[in-house]
Symmetry: C2
Subunit: 340 residues, 2 copies
């Protein structure tokens, strides 16, 4: 039997708010009978959305009121100071009080990060939260962090990211000692900057399954189970990938739309192209984890549709059920004891 779990959703966040969050929640509830969801937001709006879906009387779905909404382009400092009753903050509060085991928000990343850090605080031994996400590889998937929470990192921060990423993959993918790669460049004689070199030294002594330095192309090759880098590099790599993927799909569409014959070829190739698309669909990988906090907080893409938001909810459920945070705390304690 699967463990019962309660997840709080910031139902107002993201580009689409309740129109996406509510139907995604209903889908997840239908699939998982041990799941309970708390929708956090403006009750009137949420009740109306539930009504649309004839779902006012689901015993595993409740509405928790919050009177404010954090705008997508609002500064984190402003949101923290002025919107103490935002759907985002109240959802995080429910994790803090233990009423929910995890929360999911498609709201503004900066505000989510700042609020989560302020409300939940960091795990012992972790200095900073990191954004971790699964990415597809030729063979399966890998987990990469940090994807943008920290622009300047010390070697110790990179080590902490490696520990957290490794525990996350071990817990979710049931890999005993996930291979950890440190993102670096190989072009130069000196091979990488000082921080990365020192981080490699720390990783070698860490007791983790450290594969060594990897380069950008190793991410999608799936060379390692975990890819560690600072948030600046990680964010650029992720966004560059998004841009390239968009260019590829735009160009493919353009070529298939060129004339009658190419359109015909497109119709014939459609099932194959769709099978391909499913394998790399970024929606399947929606749901980044804000790792290092005393609570499971999942960031959904702001533009997520129902299918994508479902993946973010399921990630929250998986992480809550596999007790990722306890495992990280234990791992850090063991490593500290070994080092002492």
């Amino acid at each position: 039997m699967t463990d019962s779990v309660i997840v709080a959703l910031d139902a107002m966040g993201g580009d689409h708010g309740p129109r996406v969050v509510v139907p995604a929640a209903l889908k997840c509830l239908a699939r998982d009978s041990a799941l309970t969801i708390i929708l956090v937001g403006i009750p009137d709006i949420l009740e109306r959305e539930l009504h649309t879906h004839h779902a006012q009387n689901n015993p595993r779905l409740s509405v928790h009121p919050a009177t404010e909404v954090v705008d997508m382009d609002e500064s984190p400092a402003f949101a923290m100071r002025n919107k103490k009753d935002s759907s985002m903050r109240v959802a995080i509060n429910l994790v803090k009080t233990g009423d929910a085991a995890a929360c999911v928000s498609a709201g503004n990343t900066g505000a989510l990060m700042a609020t989560a850090k302020f409300v939940l605080k960091m795990l012992p031994g972790i200095d900073r939260p990191a954004i971790a996400s699964e990415l597809p590889t030729i063979q399966g998937h890998t987990v990469m962090l940090d994807l943008g929470a920290n622009v300047d990192c010390t070697p110790e921060h990179l080590l902490q990211f490696a520990i957290m990423g490794s525990v996350l993959v071990a817990a979710i993918d049931h890999i005993e000692a996930p291979k950890v790669g440190l993102l670096n460049i190989g072009e130069e004689d000196i091979k990488g900057n000082e921080t990365v070199k020192l981080a490699a030294d720390l990783l070698r002594q860490s007791g983790l399954n450290f594969y060594g330095n990897i380069e950008g192309d190793d991410i999608y090759k799936g060379t390692t189970d975990v890819v560690v880098c600072d948030g600046f590099v990680g964010n650029v790599a992720l966004k560059t990938s998004e841009g390239l993927a968009k260019m590829v799909s735009t160009m493919l569409r353009e070529e298939f739309n060129r004339n009658f014959f190419t359109k015909l070829a497109g119709v014939i190739a459609l099932p194959v192209l769709n099978a391909f698309k499913r394998r790399v669909d970024p929606r399947s990988y929606n749901g980044a984890t804000l790792l290092g906090l005393r609570g499971v907080v999942i960031k959904s893409h702001g533009g997520a549709d129902r299918f994508a938001f479902e993946q973010a909810i399921e990630r929250a459920v998986r992480e809550a059920r596999s007790q990722v945070l306890q495992r990280i705390t234990e791992k850090i304690a063991i490593l500290h004891k070994d080092a002492a």
Copy 2:
């Protein structure tokens, strides 16, 4: 009439050496009647290769002897110290002496960079060389630098990269004031690290057409004509793109090879897929410029085939003809005068 130009080729460099360099040279000579090529390398081997192509008596093609070859995995320091008569170094020497207007090598990047810097020295006002390359975008192409020569950059270095990239694009693509973007991340409140913030300030005052900060996805959108970043970030972005492109093509191939029907669809879609492939073919973009040196030095991909190596030669020819280096020197002088 096009200006006559002489290009020296490191004919022994790269994974394939003369077997690729010689036929690529012959193709370029056939297309461009104002081009003269000097093949630098071990004469016996080169003569034999020329013989294979019945090309011993081309008045615009000569062989210049060099007795050594820099290995692909040799340390730059070792190559510099011990291989003073390498095909790579002799080709660069020909640029230094003015016997050639540019040189091209598919050899080891580190050794090429170190040797070129040692032999040619830097342009006045430029502290460090940068690796610049064209990348495809949805609308055309963009030039990105640095792609791996400098792992730690100051704001002044980034400004110098911006100046060089801007002049390069102005000269080659005949754009009067190319739009320059500074690669950054947008996730965070503080928006980027200190170096990038200070570089943005310098760029705003530089007199260049500074577009502002851009994110990774802007590269392939073609938001700007020039993308500036440090070599660590640039190299990761480039290699990540290579990895993603390889994953996409592997998965497409797998899907089309799944069964009889998908194979048939593949055959029907082949002309369209080929048209698409031509647009993003990395071979078309082969030939990175080592910018900032007192001489045009083009680095070809080590694994370049004949077609790819031709593109690198043509890039050398274009840069020599459009007098990129004089233009950079002039631009730097103007900016310094304005600043004084």
